[in-house]
């Protein structure tokens, strides 16, 4: 275990280094010129020249990368030129929002997806199975923004139950916070629930045919114990990986959903930053979320040990 852990940890540093290189180069490959877009409507040549110098745009790419990485190593992610706020501050401002949205969406996905997958696998080819499959297909194929707008029209405009969009901090007003988050969380969770359901179903089907499950049944264990304790535990491994990856994706921001519901999370932050060529923000946020993604991946691998005793050997 310790050896495995050490190996995985050692791999993280070079991975993150490559990530920084990729983020930086991809950003430079974006067409358009940061100074031009930042200069705004007037396109004053003096402003453009000033921004060029401030962004080091006249220097070669490796030198610019050097400036950035030097700052990052010193804990300085730079400042948003568009709104004059430090990038780290923006990340810390958006993180709780994105975390909450991701956690709520994941919870909804797990609560719906895994039980539906189990039911669908144990009652294969029954009405339940078909129903679950239809719902899953619907969840996978519904575009988020469309579902979001429909929900707003129904629950906010027609029924008036929930706020149409916007965000309230849970520390200010917990009820208001939940009211604002439930629709976007459902929209996001819905798609992941479908994915989880499909994977749970196939993993369960595979395991339910395995020899050890037949043995368990032959021992006279009741079906409930066989399914939940013996089969599900083994089937969970790929689902945990999938769940962790999906959670990581959620943490990097749900662009369309955040846009529709005006949730001020990472998704909106990064999209605005890309369109405005606010380099420091794009780099800072992508670096942060990819690091989180890498760490989550590691945690998912470690979680295998907990559910799968064979790997502890």
């Amino acid at each position: 275990m310790t050896q495995y852990l050490a190996k995985r940890l050692a791999a993280i540093l070079p991975t993150i280094f490559f990530v920084t290189v990729i983020i930086f180069t991809l950003q430079q490959l974006l067409p358009g010129d940061a100074a031009t877009i930042m200069a705004g409507e007037n396109q004053d040549p003096n402003v453009i020249a000033y921004l060029r110098q401030k962004l080091h745009l006249d220097e070669p790419i490796p030198v610019r990368y050097g400036y950035w990485i030097w700052g990052v190593l010193h804990g300085d992610l730079g400042e948003s030129l568009r709104i004059q706020e430090p990038v780290l501050g923006l990340i810390l401002q958006k993180l709780p929002v994105t975390l909450e949205l991701a956690a709520m969406a994941m919870l909804i996905a797990l609560v719906i997806g895994i039980p539906a997958g189990i039911v669908s696998a144990t009652a294969k080819d029954s009405v339940w199975d078909y129903a679950a499959n239809v719902v899953a297909l619907w969840g996978l194929s519904t575009p988020n923004f469309w579902l979001g707008i429909l929900m707003i029209l129904l629950f906010s405009v027609q029924l008036g139950w929930l706020p149409a969009s916007g965000y309230v901090s849970p520390f200010e007003d917990l009820q208001g916070n939940l009211a604002a988050m439930i629709m976007p969380a459902f929209v996001l969770g819905n798609a992941i629930a479908a994915l989880l359901m499909r994977h749970t179903r196939s993993a369960m089907l595979q395991v339910l045919n395995a020899d050890y499950v037949r043995t368990a049944r032959a021992k006279g264990l009741d079906e409930r114990t066989v399914v939940l304790k013996h089969a599900l535990r083994n089937a969970l491994t790929p689902i945990i990986t999938l769940g962790a990856l999906e959670f990581g994706t959620l943490l990097s921001g749900a662009v369309l959903t955040e846009q529709v519901f005006s949730i001020p999370g990472f998704g909106k932050l990064i999209v605005d930053a890309v369109f405005n060529r606010d380099y420091a923000v794009v780099q800072g946020v992508v670096l942060f979320t990819s690091t989180v993604y890498i760490v989550l991946n590691l945690l998912a691998d470690l979680a295998y040990f907990l559910v799968n005793p064979r790997m502890r050997g």
């Binding site: 974006l30 067409p31 358009g32 010129d33 031009t36 877009i37 930042m38 200069a39 705004g40 409507e41 007037n42 396109q43 004053d44 040549p45 003096n46 402003v47 000033y50 921004l51 401030k54 400042e79 948003s80 568009r82 709104i83 004059q84 706020e85 923006l90 401002q93 707008i149 707003i152 029209l153 906010s156 405009v157 008036g160 706020p163 149409a164 969009s165 916007g166 965000y167 846009q259 529709v260 519901f261 005006s262 001020p264 909106k268 932050l269 605005d272 369109f275 405005n276 060529r277």
Partner: protein
């Protein structure tokens, strides 16, 4: 609980609600930095209208009206503007507003690194403090648009003390002298302002707080208004107008913008201009214009929510050149012109934005021009990229809108002046420059109208920009809101607004 008690409770609640009333405004975008010297976006100006007073303002008819300056006088040689300032005005930090503060602000606009006001105030060579409440702006040459420039961000005054205390990121916590003071900003979420108790015109302020929330999607913005989360939304989608009119509890206001939507043609920005008939030959550009039916374009692309136009100002504007009226669509004449030019089927690429509005506009233009024999290829390009391509001259025709300025100079000089930053067509003519400079040096509006008439006739010969229409600013709001003023600059003036 008896009924009387419930009613009394209801009244008490209503009373307390009106005591702490918030005006919630939905914006179409998240504003950029809230520093008047550095700010560069239209949407930011909407926030500034509640936050930062200006030396002067414009009214519904584009007259210059007093704000922080109560009166002004040009010198005999038109090279100095003396302004009397409003007494008893303080900044949000309690500092006094006086002539020294004006001098500081104009100098800050002109010198701060990255200032977007420097160019606007270029003719202002120095500022004299005449006395405590009188200031004189000295110009290097007469400059007729100066007052309208001072009616925008260049005329906004920030607290000198606060600006000096925070030289690097004043925009994160701006201190001005407007009706509301800055409380907090959560990027992409909300900007909160609260009533400034010592505002000089406080009798006209009827809200305790104003919040600005960017809600990018126009459908969602409207849904928020309908469900009561917002009281006021700007830039309603033209396609939603019919539905809003049907809604009993919503009001709608509109006014024609100061800006325009047009197609800029590369006639000399790069060698691409000579490589395609549209850029090379004015007859082909005339044919292109004649192939377009502006009223039809407005109907299809804007659901009728725009005024067709063919100049940098709308036909209703006092400076519109009546000698150059909107040409009627004439496909036969367009074909004739193409024949004369020897290119019966010219082909060119029209660069346009990625929004659905921009796409629709390009498609209508494509279809109309086809009738005259044009083969228009549409190239949808994300804004930052298109700006860069335009700047480098890597385009043939470009759908480009301008948000507009109150003085026609703001819609003209930078676009048609030789080598000016917004002159994407690359058209460079000495006589245009001469006329543009003359209009700047002439203060008499009647004289300026004559100059613009000559200029319009000259520009029409070349057509580096084919102006199409002037959009309506569309606002929707809770019908309980009264006191709305529709000023063509599209900004929301909170003075007099009441719910």
């Amino acid at each position: 609980m008896n009924r009387k008690f419930v009613m009394a409770l209801g009244l008490a609640l209503a009373a307390s609600a009106s005591m702490a009333q918030t005006l919630r405004i939905g914006l179409a975008e998240d504003p950029d930095v809230l520093d008047p010297s550095l700010a560069r976006s239209f949407v930011g100006r909407i926030v500034f209208a509640s936050l930062c007073d200006k030396l002067v303002d414009i009214d519904e008819k584009l007259n210059i009206v007093p704000q922080l300056a109560t009166s002004w006088q040009w010198s005999a040689d038109n090279k100095a503007l003396t302004m009397k300032l409003r007494p008893g005005v303080t900044f949000h930090d309690g500092e006094k507003f006086d002539a020294a503060a004006v001098k500081y602000n104009i100098e800050r606009h002109k010198t701060i690194a990255g200032s977007n006001r420097r160019g606007e105030l270029l003719p202002v060579s120095s500022v004299d403090v005449v006395d405590d409440m009188t200031v004189r702006l000295n110009l290097s040459a007469p400059f007729s648009p100066l007052l309208t420039v001072l009616a925008d961000r260049a005329g906004m005054m920030v607290s000198p003390k606060a600006a000096q205390a925070n030289p690097t990121n004043f925009g994160a916590k701006p201190v001005c002298s407007g009706p509301f003071k800055f409380v907090e900003r959560i990027a992409q979420d909300k900007i909160t302002l609260e009533r400034y108790a010592n505002y000089w015109d406080k009798a006209n302020i009827h809200f305790d707080k104003v919040t600005f929330q960017p809600v990018v999607d126009s459908t969602v913005r409207l849904a928020n208004l309908k469900s009561g989360q917002l009281d006021f939304i700007e830039r309603v989608a033209p396609s939603d107008v019919a539905a809003i009119k049907k809604e009993g509890k919503l009001g709608l206001a509109r006014i024609t913008e100061l800006g325009y939507q047009g197609i800029t043609i590369n006639t000399g920005k790069s060698d691409l201009a000579q490589k395609n008939p549209l850029g090379r030959d004015p007859r082909v550009r005339e044919a292109f214009e004649l192939s377009l039916d502006r009223a039809g374009i407005v109907k299809v692309a804007m659901d009728g929510e725009a005024e067709p136009g063919n100049q940098w100002v709308s036909p209703g504007n006092a400076f519109y050149a009546k000698n150059v009226p909107i040409p009627k669509r004439d496909v036969a004449r367009a074909k004739q012109l193409l024949k004369e030019a020897g290119v019966p089927n010219p082909s060119f690429t029209l660069m346009t934005g990625t929004t659905s509005d921009a796409q629709r506009l390009a498609q209508v233009v494509q279809a109309m021009a086809k009738d005259a024999g044009f083969d228009v290829k549409i190239q949808s390009t994300e804004f930052a990229t298109s700006l860069n391509l335009a700047d480098k001259g890597q385009f043939e025709a470009y759908v480009l809108a301008w948000s507009g300025r109150a003085d026609p100079d703001g819609n003209l000089f930078s676009f048609h002046g030789c080598k000016q930053p917004l002159n994407y067509s690359g058209e460079c003519r000495a006589n245009w420059d001469e006329l543009l400079n003359r209009s700047r040096a002439t203060l008499d509006p009647k004289e300026r109208i004559k100059i613009f008439a000559t200029l319009a006739a000259e520009i029409e010969k070349e057509r580096p920009i084919i102006y199409l229409y002037h959009r309506n600013w569309l606002w929707a709001f809770n019908k309980k809101l009264t006191g709305m003023r529709t000023v063509p600059d599209g900004l929301i003036r909170v003075q007099g607004l009441k719910m």
